[in-house]
Amino acid sequence: MISRREFLQASLAASAILTGAGLGPWSRLAAQQRLTQDQLLAFPDFGNVTLIHVTDIHAQLRPVWFREPEINLGVGEAKGRVPHVTGADFLKLYGLTPGSPEAYALTHQDFVALGRAYGRMGGLDRIATVVKAIRAARPDALLLDGGDTWHGSMTSLLTKGQDMVNAMNALGVDAMTSHWEWTYGTRRVHDIVDALPFPFLGANIFDVEWDEPAFAPYEIFERAGTRIAVIGQAFPYMPIANPGWMFPEYSFGLREERMAQLVDEVRAKADLVVCLSHNGFDVDRKMAARVRGIDVILSGHTHDALPEPVLVGQTIIVASGSHGKFVSRVDLDVQAGRMTGFRHRLIPIFADAIAPDPDMAALIDAERAPFKARLEEELATTESLLYRRGNFNGTWDDLICQAILSERDAQIALSPGVRWGPSVMPGEAITREALMGATSMTYGQCYRTEMTGDRLREVLEDVADNLFNADPYYQQGGDMVRTGGLGYRIDVSAPMGARISDMVLQSTGEPIEPARSYVVAGWASVNEGTEGPQIWDVVESHLKKIGTVRIAPNDSVVIAGA
């Protein structure tokens, strides 16, 4: 692996120095600079308020490989706009050099080769170093966690999120909001929240029975004489996208009117209004245009990493990526109750360049120790890069679908289009930890059932509309359901119910017949009482049989209308 010295020829952006609306290229000025911890942390202090944003860490305590999406299509007004810009277009948009550390961190191109040069990213011990350094410069900085924190790894599943709770408490979070946290169920969420040393915010979480707010909607922090209101917005489609029966006491939803009311309410009490959001980027952009008075939206859920904030009216939207790859630092100048300027940096957490914080490293080791042998057991070796992120099947999904078809003796496999799950590099062993990183959840049963061709089409249409509805308020985030054994054509710009066509059963090459039944197996059903072995056991069994993984290119989905 690369040493810190080898980074010296590489360049990484110093922050674009942004005040007001002057959004410039991220980093052209940094070509001669060195990729060292000092350079990664360089940030000329600005203004009188500092926000630190992390989001969607998905329980990744340790550094990961994570390939950003190649295909991330925007529809309607979002078409061709960030975050729906990928690869070479993304590099061009931000003036980044192909092959540079930024290109590796932010795009999919040459991922394997660049990964070998620049190493893994993230790790909560590295994040701790960054947070401590920012706090050393700005003791009053607020650390805000956008949620999807307690879920996503084998250790988080086995400890019901406790490993992450312990780590984030040690990191010193000031407030958080939530999404996958709820998949541990109401009781577990309450047990954790009751003991949290910081508020668990959710302006849009309501009691089902009384239709009343159930959690603190906001917290007002006083920092160096400035009052900062942080409004939390949990994932709006919690009971739809995840199993509502696990938290039946609560209703979520966008609740735009309530957000507007709260912004008005806190405006009277605070100098700065921050929304800590798990809406997803397109939803946040729409909300920023419709709800006036939010200064900063710290956006999570859709896992987008943007080198610059997006400005909507007087609101800046900051998107800080996922899996611990990035930490955003936002310095703001707040005078007389107005945000008059900002400076922002999306800090890439290059694990080989940033020294681990010893205290956090020790905590992580202690959390992992009881499970170490199980985590590190090697199940197979992969010759292909395994990744998931993208609107359609990644190689991880193809592997999972192949395992389902084979182990569950099905004609068609369905696998959820979640956006989490670290990558595995070619030549690496697939450990149980890596497999669980792509599959772990509290509803991982791999069902086997029969569905008619008509029903299958309905499922594909339904998920397609959650992703490609032109109105962001009707999007749930996530990506298209992954299919094995089933090919189809999708017109992403067609209206609801008319996007899917040319469905084919790949084993025979025959068209899917609407009235005929097919044996379908899949996992992550949101229905209560779903039966079947856990998906990671299904895939593990498959891996042990095949020994070596090689994923052929997948052309089963034909995309139109993009």
Partner: protein, 138 residues
């Protein structure tokens, strides 16, 4: 007593008629609107309909409607086999002209609220509520 075609069918065939409605859904909605407004034009504004963008449970979708100055508000589920949901009447002593209830939605559709105001005019508001299979959130 004046019976619409649909009501006649419901009377004749019982519950089955609701499932085999011979009228296109839009015709049933138009008919329900006409029954409430007598064909008067519909204005916008002055009525607020609050409904979730995506239903958490299509069997019980919370909707609220408010129209200051309304003497009656009718609520329609345009995509249901039977679009009529409820009509709320407000007397002169009503402190606020708002109503909230939970309704069942058969599929993704527009929910429509129409208020009859004290001056005899009508205003309407619409909200699209998506009813989804769910799953696969990122």
């Amino acid at each position: 007593m004046k019976l619409s075609r649909r009501e006649t069918l419901v009377l004749g065939l019982g519950g089955l008629a609701a499932l085999t409605l011979p009228l296109p859904a839009t015709a049933a909605v138009d008919e329900a609107i006409a029954a409430f407004t007598g064909g008067a034009p519909l204005g916008d504004g002055g009525i607020t309909l609050t409904a979730p963008e995506i239903a958490e449970n299509g069997n019980t979708v919370p909707v609220a409607v408010s129209a200051p100055g309304a003497v009656a508000i009718t609520l329609l589920a345009s995509g249901n086999p039977v679009p009529g949901v409820a009509t709320f009447a407000f007397g002169p002593a009503a402190g606020s002209r708002m109503a909230a209830t939970r309704i069942r939605l058969a599929k993704t559709q527009d929910v429509i609220a129409i208020a009859k105001l004290e001056n005899g005019s009508f205003v309407q508001a619409k909200a699209t509520v998506k009813v989804t299979i769910g799953g696969c959130g990122g």
